[in-house]
């Protein structure tokens, strides 16, 4: 029809084709009065769709507009219900009578349009029915309520429903959900596949939802399920597990196998609050925790999450000023070659000394820096400072600098490294970049390309925290690392459990056969030193062979190398 039904409901489009002729099935009641033909003709041509039924519920008249709207013609004296059925109309209307002289109903036409019917009692006991095509309005209203991509309800509707339930004092559960790795699906396979995936996720969520549940898409890869009613934690836990399992199952789409995960944050009213915004925030906080603790799981809201979030925000505010206020410093921890007993390098370790907080643990501020993107600027500061410091050392030994996985998202990383080397004058082979396996977890190929660029500059690359990640061995095949740094948890565990020793031994052997140096981290005692030496590690770094120290002390250590030898001698290395 080419019209978008933007007209108000009382107006029937004039350009609608008239598919049939009106049927004056019997003489209209008014025929006996003055100029009855004129009335009849007017009724026939009236732009409003009109039907007349007799007292027995049989259709006595259908005007042109009604015929066009219904899209079919009526057999003479057909029952109203039969007429609707034969036109494929869904729904029915009870005819008015003395007790209810006016009745309303909404019908669904075969083509999906919605029609409001108003039936009024006529003096002869029959009824006049006027039809109003409200599909445009229903559709508009639906559109305003729904997310066009998935057909789920949108944020506005969710809020409205939530508000209504809370106002009525009803108990309910709110589950906020977002997808892990959705962004990389979008980036690598394109938005159309990302959209299809979102639709599949919506469908899967629909199969978990029960009658009365509201499933909403708030935007992006954020979904929320509102579950009215009183449920125990255990009951909700079963549902949350099912969601995590179901959404996390592989998708086969357009010839691609797609793996994503879901994290869920849960809050319940009235237990955790009874205000719209509070509950939405609770669910988000719980979701945030669930993601932070590892992907693909669920968490219930706890009051302390709020405080933790406040604390995190406070750190973020301070962190934003830390560079400008020059609150960062680097400490250097010696790395010792077990064969020569010499310090062959230092790892640069970031310290944040805040005016009132004092020394803030990297465990506390690095995650915040990564989340906020501040890690980019901070990481660059570390890189440049470490290069400048190392140039002044009396010996040409290496300086290890940690790179956050997030720094690999920046394609100009190689340029930054080049610039740090050039402006400091440090030889490339003295810089050793330490990366964790996490950096290789996403967009592995892109990261490998970056690593190769760095390697081409002459820079060394070591793998940090080795053994704590996922599929380390595959990465070793993909990139020739210079060094494996065995995570300190293994070194610490060596005394107590044989598995830890076996792992240290295996990594050392792996390193030896691949020609990769192996550094045992976290060595604190003489026994540990003997043990890692015994298992075949080539290097050591830990409190026992040197705590992290200020730049000046590191320099001094190099000027009097006997000092290390002395410590080591003393402990019988």
């Amino acid at each position: 029809m080419g019209k978008d039904f933007a007209q108000p409901p009382h107006f029937t489009p004039k350009d609608r084709p008239l598919s049939a002729h009106p049927l004056p099935l019997s003489e209209p009641a008014q025929a006996a009065s003055a100029e009855p033909e004129a009335y009849l003709a007017a009724l026939v041509e009236l732009a409003t769709p009109v039907l007349l039924a007799d007292a027995g519920g049989r259709v006595s008249f259908v005007n042109r507009a009604a015929t066009a709207l219904l899209g079919c013609t009526a057999a003479p004296a057909i029952a109203l219900d039969a007429l609707f059925a034969s036109c494929g109309v869904g729904g029915r209307i009870a005819l008015p009578d003395g007790s209810a002289p006016q009745r309303f109903a909404q019908l669904k036409l075969s083509d999906g349009r919605a029609v409001n019917v108003e039936a009024r009692l006529l003096p002869d006991g029959g009824a006049a029915l006027t039809l109003t095509d409200v599909s445009a309005f229903v559709r508009e209203a639906e559109r305003a309520r729904r997310d066009p991509l998935t057909g789920l309800v949108n944020r506005v509707t969710l809020h409205a429903t939530l508000g209504r339930l809370l106002q009525a004092g009803k108990p309910l559960t709110l589950m906020a959900l977002d997808l892990d790795r959705f962004k990389s699906v979008n980036d690598t396979l394109g938005h159309p596949i990302g959209d299809t995936l979102l639709r599949k996720v919506a469908e899967r969520l629909g199969t978990v939802a029960e009658d009365g549940d509201v499933v909403a898409r708030l935007g992006g890869d954020e979904f929320t399920i509102l579950k009215p009613g009183s449920f125990t934690r255990e009951q909700i836990e079963i549902i949350a597990k099912r969601i995590v399992d179901l959404v996390g199952r592989t998708y086969a789409l357009e010839g691609h196998m797609i793996h994503i995960g879901a994290s869920v944050g849960i809050t319940q009213a009235p237990h955790d609050g009874s205000d719209n915004d509070v509950l939405m925030k609770n669910a988000d906080l719980a979701l945030y925790r669930s993601k932070a603790e590892g992907r693909g799981r669920y968490r219930f809201f706890e009051q302390k999450m709020d405080e933790q979030m406040q604390a995190r925000r406070a750190i973020e505010l301070d962190l934003r000023q830390a560079l400008a206020l020059q609150e960062f410093e680097l400490a250097y921890q010696p790395q010792v070659d077990l064969a020569t007993q010499e310090v062959v390098g230092f790892e640069a370790l970031l310290r944040w000394r805040h005016a009132t907080r004092g020394l803030v643990s990297p465990l506390e501020f690095i995650p915040v820096a990564e989340e906020t993107g501040l890690i980019g600027a901070i990481g660059e500061w570390v890189l440049r400072t470490a290069c400048r410091d190392a140039v002044q050392w009396p010996e040409a030994i290496t300086v290890g600098v940690n790179l956050s996985p997030l720094q690999f998202r920046n394609p100009s990383l190689a340029q930054t490294v080049m610039s740090a080397l050039a402006s400091s004058g440090l030889a490339a082979e003295r810089l050793e970049l330490e990366i964790t396996e996490n950096a290789l977890l996403e967009d592995t190929d892109t990261v490998l390309v970056l690593l190769k660029q760095l390697r081409d500059l002459g820079v060394r690359v070591s793998m940090d925290d080795f053994g704590t990640g996922y599929s380390s061995l595959a990465y070793l095949q993909k990139f020739p690392f210079d060094r494996l740094k065995i995570d300190q948890s293994f070194v610490r565990g060596m005394g107590a459990n044989p598995e830890a020793s076996a792992i240290v031994r295996a990594v050392a052997a792996l390193g030896a056969s691949l020609g990769i140096k192996t550094t045992a981290e976290g060595v604190e005692t003489e026994e540990q030193l003997a043990a890692i030496r015994n298992e075949g590690c080539t290097h050591v770094q830990g409190y026992f062979t040197g705590r992290p120290m200020a730049l000046a002390d590191a320099r001094a250590l190099l000027v009097q190398p006997r000092k290390v030898a002395a410590i080591v001698e003393e402990h019988g290395l």
Partner: protein, 146 residues
């Protein structure tokens, strides 16, 4: 769209989550099979299903969209979990052109016979490559047919 490789083949194994005794499992498998045979015939999907040692193994093949839609339904089924895809590839010819869903292996209730088949096929889907699983299913289906 491309002229080559008109069929998509999907091979997976999964862990059984049907609770209950062998009879309950039999009933579940019967239901899955009759549903599969009806749905798959309609969707032009063919393949084979095997159950053993707590695992399902299945091959689905047919037009890509049909295979994907069928697999999506199967993925949502709580009667199994840990679905591990072994293959998702295009192919020129179906391995099971005549079976909307062949069931190979005996019903769990016939435990003895089922163990025999398990032993003779060496079927442990979790240790198989896609090709081996495909071949095993194919071999068993042909045997059954003969």
């Amino acid at each position: 769209m491309s002229a080559a490789a008109p069929f998509q083949r999907l091979v997976y194994y999964s862990r059984n989550e049907v609770d209950g005794d062998a009879d309950a499992l039999d009933a579940a498998i019967d239901e899955i099979l009759s549903l599969s045979q009806r749905n798959n015939a309609q969707a032009d999907v063919t393949g084979a299903l095997l159950f053993n040692t707590g695992c399902f193994g299945q091959v689905l093949e047919g037009p890509r969209r049909a295979v994907e839609a069928t697999f999506e339904r199967i993925q949502r089924d709580p009667r199994h979990s840990d679905v591990t895809l072994l293959a998702f590839e295009t192919t020129d010819a179906r391995a099971f052109p005549n079976w909307s869903m062949a069931y190979v292996g005996a019903k769990p209730a016939q435990a003895v016979r089922y163990n025999e088949i398990a032993a003779s096929s060496g079927f442990d889907p979790s240790r198989m490559t896609a090709n081996r699983l495909l071949e095993t299913l194919h071999g068993l289906a042909m045997e059954k047919e003969a």
